[in-house]
């Protein structure tokens, strides 16, 4: 179920911009904050642009940026976590101390500091999110890998003289894929929250690029008229995060 949901959002992110009715920057109507109509399915925004188009582009950038950041964070975090569990000793201590240090900075704060220093651009945001969420993934996979490492088949593989790379990828990883995937889902939700918060504060994605947070921010005035221009992106974020969290939660309870 969570996998299907994730695939749905990824698919929407990839094909969304191609099925959009117009281009995101084009002013299509002289009415601002227009309500839902057949010409513009979700009305128009504060400049008279088509909301559905902008929503599809915004969803696409939110989902894709966060997905890339999560994949980077989790692949690095999981790999380092498994290495720490396998090697133990000094490698483990040094890595764990470093990760504890990084994790002691609140995520929104790290994001703000990164943007203040390097300016706000797509690579900065993705890399910052990857760095912020790597320690959490490291911790989870280290805990998971520690219980796998104690098993007999790891000992057998070590006796066979297998290399570290083989041990990590072929022996440890296949035995913890389920929990690791659930962890990836959670990190993705955190990343969506962080990116949307940053964009809502005006320090995330910069125009002409849009994401769900900046769409809500720029149309905030439409709240007074109950315009779909502000309700649609806000609702999309809610459906994306709550839906995925519910799916992950349900999976956890059944187990």
């Amino acid at each position: 179920m969570p996998v299907l949901l994730a695939l749905f959002w990824l698919l929407l992110a990839v094909i969304g911009p191609f099925i959009a009715p117009s281009t995101p920057g084009e002013v299509v109507s002289s009415t601002v904050f227009a309500p839902i109509s057949t010409a513009h399915l979700l009305g128009t925004d504060y400049l008279g642009r088509d909301v559905l188009t902008r929503l599809l582009f915004g969803t696409s950038s939110t989902v894709l940026l966060c997905a890339v950041a999560t994949v980077l964070a989790c692949s690095a975090g999981t790999f380092l976590g498994m290495m720490a569990a396998l090697k133990q000793g000094l490698t483990d201590t040094l890595l764990s101390r470093f990760m504890d240090g990084v994790i002691s900075i609140p995520s929104l704060l790290s994001g703000l500091v990164a943007v203040a220093t390097f300016g706000s651009s797509v690579p900065v945001l993705v890399l910052a999110m990857a760095c912020i969420y790597m320690p959490g993934s490291y911790r989870t996979s280290r805990m998971l890998a520690l219980s796998v490492v104690r098993k007999d088949f790891i000992l057998v593989a070590r006796m066979r003289g297998e290399k570290t790379g083989y041990l990590v990828l072929r022996e440890i990883l296949p035995n913890m894929t389920g929990p690791v995937l659930a962890d990836v889902g959670l990190r993705f939700i955190y990343a969506v929250r962080l990116l949307s918060n940053l964009s809502f504060l005006g320090v995330g994605l910069q125009p002409p690029q849009t994401d769900l947070g900046s769409l809500t921010r720029e149309n905030l005035l439409g709240l007074v008229y109950g315009a779909p221009a502000v309700i649609a992106p806000a609702l999309t974020i809610a459906v994306l995060t709550v839906g995925l969290n519910l799916a992950l939660d349900g999976k956890g309870q059944r187990r």
Binding site: P106, V113, A116, N197, L201, V203, G213, I237, T241, N245
Partner: protein, 318 residues
């Protein structure tokens, strides 16, 4: 208090101190990673090379990074937090009032949110797996999954736009009466409260369910002890320590919420100062605000861990 517990607490405090140093050092080195960029960003593209050079000299950007770090850390320890690049005022003056405002907001929110969250969490634990519990679980799950600004937006929509109950903007400069005090604070406090009540109620429920389903509570129930007596005599002593841990951990989530809430409601606190300084890339101000926030966050998480140490000690003895 045993020597073992004392040692464990000392070790935890030591670890927090190391984390604090790590944070301070990394904040400095990350923010000075691009030395020339600050001067160029401040003066804009039309700046002459001479102007950039002289600004870099006055900001001491032409010195090696370790020399600057020594000067900066020395100033920091003696209470000199530098000068803002934008307003040219001492950072300490700018931060001081704002910090008090933020602490006031956080304090009032805590006062309301902690009892509310404990009550909600406890009730869901007592009536677990009923419709009430499921509704609360779903609501708190929604609150903890969506970004904080969404809750703020929703609160504005409901209370200020639809019901016309409260003003959407907080202006704490013109508080003269109880009425204006309530008007200014209710929206930010309600929003921030929602954010941490969600977290805290979920964790409280977990703690309470853990104790309520324990064998000694079942034993007391089988003995025919009255529910009120069970709660007061058997449950309460066993949940005080874990609940303190829950409270301290949830209050550290306050920091994330406060950034959003202050910006949405234009509340003149330290978090909105930080967001403004990030937008204008005013590095000394960003550094100071970031360190204040990290110190507060570390303080709360350390407190939570120390309470947890105490409680595990109690349980070991029991």
């Amino acid at each position: 208090m045993t020597a073992q517990l004392g040692k464990a607490i000392a070790r935890r405090l030591g670890a927090s101190l190391v984390s604090l140093v790590f944070v301070v050092v990394s904040v400095f080195f990350i923010t000075s990673a691009l030395p020339g960029d600050v001067a160029e960003a401040l003066l804009g593209q039309a700046a002459t090379p001479d102007a950039i050079a002289s600004l870099r000299h006055s900001l001491r950007l032409d010195q090696p990074v370790l020399v600057r770090f020594a000067g900066w850390a020395g100033g920091f320890l003696s209470g000199d937090f530098g000068t803002s690049l934008v307003s040219h005022q001492p950072v300490l003056n700018m931060v001081h009032d704002r910090l008090l405002h933020s602490l006031l907001l956080a304090g009032i929110t805590t006062l309301f949110a902690v009892p509310a969250a404990l009550l909600l969490g406890t009730l869901s634990a007592i009536f677990r797996n009923t419709l009430f519990d499921r509704t609360i679980s779903l609501l708190t799950l929604c609150v903890v999954s969506v970004p904080e600004f969404l809750i703020a937006t929703l609160a504005v929509l409901v209370f200020a736009v639809q019901l016309h109950l409260l003003p959407a903007l907080a202006s704490i400069s013109d508080i003269h009466s109880i009425g204006s005090f309530l008007a200014a604070f209710s929206m930010p406090v309600a929003t921030l409260g929602c954010v941490i009540v969600g977290q805290m109620a979920r964790m409280t429920r977990a703690v309470m369910v853990n104790v309520l389903s324990s064998s000694w509570v079942e034993m007391a129930m089988l003995k025919g002890v009255s529910p009120a007596f069970i709660i007061l005599r058997h449950v309460l002593p066993n949940v005080i320590a874990p609940l303190f841990n829950v409270i301290a951990l949830s209050l550290s989530y306050l920091l994330g919420g406060v950034v959003i809430v202050e910006s949405v409601f234009h509340y003149p606190g330290i978090a909105s100062l930080m967001v403004d300084s990030v937008a204008s890339r005013d590095i000394p101000l960003v550094q100071t605000c970031a360190i204040i926030f990290c110190a507060a966050y570390l303080l709360l998480t350390t407190l939570a861990d120390i309470v947890a140490l105490f409680s595990s000690q109690e349980r070991a003895r029991a």
